[in-house]
Symmetry: C2
Subunit: 333 residues, 2 copies
Amino acid sequence: MQSASEFVEKHRPAGGKRSSKRDLIVQVFLRQEGHLSAEELADLIRRTDKRISRATVYRTLQWMVDAGIAGKVDFGGGKFRFERAYRHPRHFHFICKSCNQSFEFLSSDIEALIEEVAAAREFAPRQSMLQVYGTCQWCQQGVTPPAMAPAELLFARDALRIAIATERSGREFYTRAARLTADGPGRRIFQKLAGEEVEHLRKLEERYAELVRQEPTLEAQPTFLFFKGAANGLFAAATEELGNGVDEGKALLIGIRCERGSHAFFKKYGERFEESEGKRIFLEFADEEREHLDMLLREYRHLVARQRRAAASTRPATARRAKTRATKRRRSA
Amino acid sequence: MQSASEFVEKHRPAGGKRSSKRDLIVQVFLRQEGHLSAEELADLIRRTDKRISRATVYRTLQWMVDAGIAGKVDFGGGKFRFERAYRHPRHFHFICKSCNQSFEFLSSDIEALIEEVAAAREFAPRQSMLQVYGTCQWCQQGVTPPAMAPAELLFARDALRIAIATERSGREFYTRAARLTADGPGRRIFQKLAGEEVEHLRKLEERYAELVRQEPTLEAQPTFLFFKGAANGLFAAATEELGNGVDEGKALLIGIRCERGSHAFFKKYGERFEESEGKRIFLEFADEEREHLDMLLREYRHLVARQRRAAASTRPATARRAKTRATKRRRSA
DNA sequence: ATAGATGCAAACCCTTTGCACATTA
DNA sequence: TAATGTGCAAAGGGTTTGCATCTAT
């Protein structure tokens, strides 16, 4: 986990000079969670140092945007607000025309669609802005909006929730597969994987609890990360597919399909997100799914080899001898 | 098809006075296809009447936006441009940072996702703005972008393309169903529907050709309306499902499912679009699918009734008599 | 007659810039 | 010392507004 100053150092462009005033502005800016207008930031700065001019604040903001430390958000009406990029996943905005507050969300589904459309139109996208104007739930009810947790935490929370849901349905799948298949190496793999899922689940839930401990209001806050295509549906469908009885090979193949899909899913989106706890959760989870996938693949290859041997031993003698010779040749190659 | 002035009259707010200057500004504005800045519009106006002040242009633009005659698009950097709402479906923008041109598209999938997310966050959306910044294909290739056809025509073109694709796969389905089912009332319905699809298809293709005649560059222009969930996939899958032989009842049920899905699809999105040729295409198509659906449902009910009678005629005499009495009672009610 | 529309110019708002001065490498 | 950053005030640009004057109902 990198600190704010490490983050700034990583982004500081080469060839510039340091200045205490710019440092102060950057530092104050990065302490803020939400969206700041230039004016608001200037006010904050003046509390510490009254001699910093508006122009410097604007220039520093521009500098931060160029360096990738800050994002400039167009709030319409020619008004801009700035938000830190540090520990702040990219996102879209709901903007309430009644209270003028903005609420952040991210939909990977929408992002994916934007990329598809851009590809179809041969447009090279660099940045997308989605603003939904309307009325927030609090203005609809006539109450004042509560304080929002930082988007970074909400993002991590939602990444964990997705991972946990996937893990849960994976556990169901393997438990069921172990129950339904005949005793043998396949069943032992399912039992092992079911056990691993239980263990991973424990770890993820602990991590989730830790996050909530850090920010107790987190659980009640609205969803930040929307993800219809989240991979947990895969295992749920697969569990159905097991039915009331299934042979080892079929169950292995179903598991392979799920783990492959799940791995691809978490890898793809994990890589897309910018550096954050949420990204890490996705990528670590992708790795786990990869390991499961490898285990299943290995087991499936063993199974096929066993079946081939079994088939060979029941064939007529001549065929069996030919087969054995062919196998030997292949092995020596 | 309503004219520009009918459109204005429909939107003109009550209680205002007419003025020749405002009328002129509105008229000139509605003649334009693309996005105009206030300044550009003022220039256009001054060619006709040099005595119209900038303020009036701004005030009239504001008036048009309030009345729903014009849309105000935030092009970033505090710059606004205006686009007519008349014959201009809502849309999102690609904005090329190199040539500063904008390119319009619409993705109903993205719109649907936005609605879903808004509902989940209990946000009442009124308007969404999606801008994708980057580089257009022409700037990437170092050539100047060609002239774009009006979005309205592109929208109609794409709506027709979707309808035609659906019609085509519907035709495949019914042709196949007619071939695979035994001779009888069911087969005759399939033949009839296949014939109707052929006829509708001809009409749609003629309408498409007419559109292209009106604007010959239309065919080569990029996609405007993106629609992953377009209903044509339904019939394609259904045709597969027919396999190499299927009984009448099953085929009817599959057809019912498809027509129901297709009807719901075109109805849902057609209702969502604003007044336009594209909207009309969707809604008319929805109606056709509805009629097909009704035909299939009717036929299915007859089939069930026939089967019930057939089953009854093989039952023991007492049961048959009871059944017949029940049927008579129902009929006399 | 009177509410509403217009022209003009000034005001507005947020942002950028020119220039002299101050800091940093 | 040469390059870069800062303060001040002024300019910028797109937009809105106050007010006297018109004009349609």
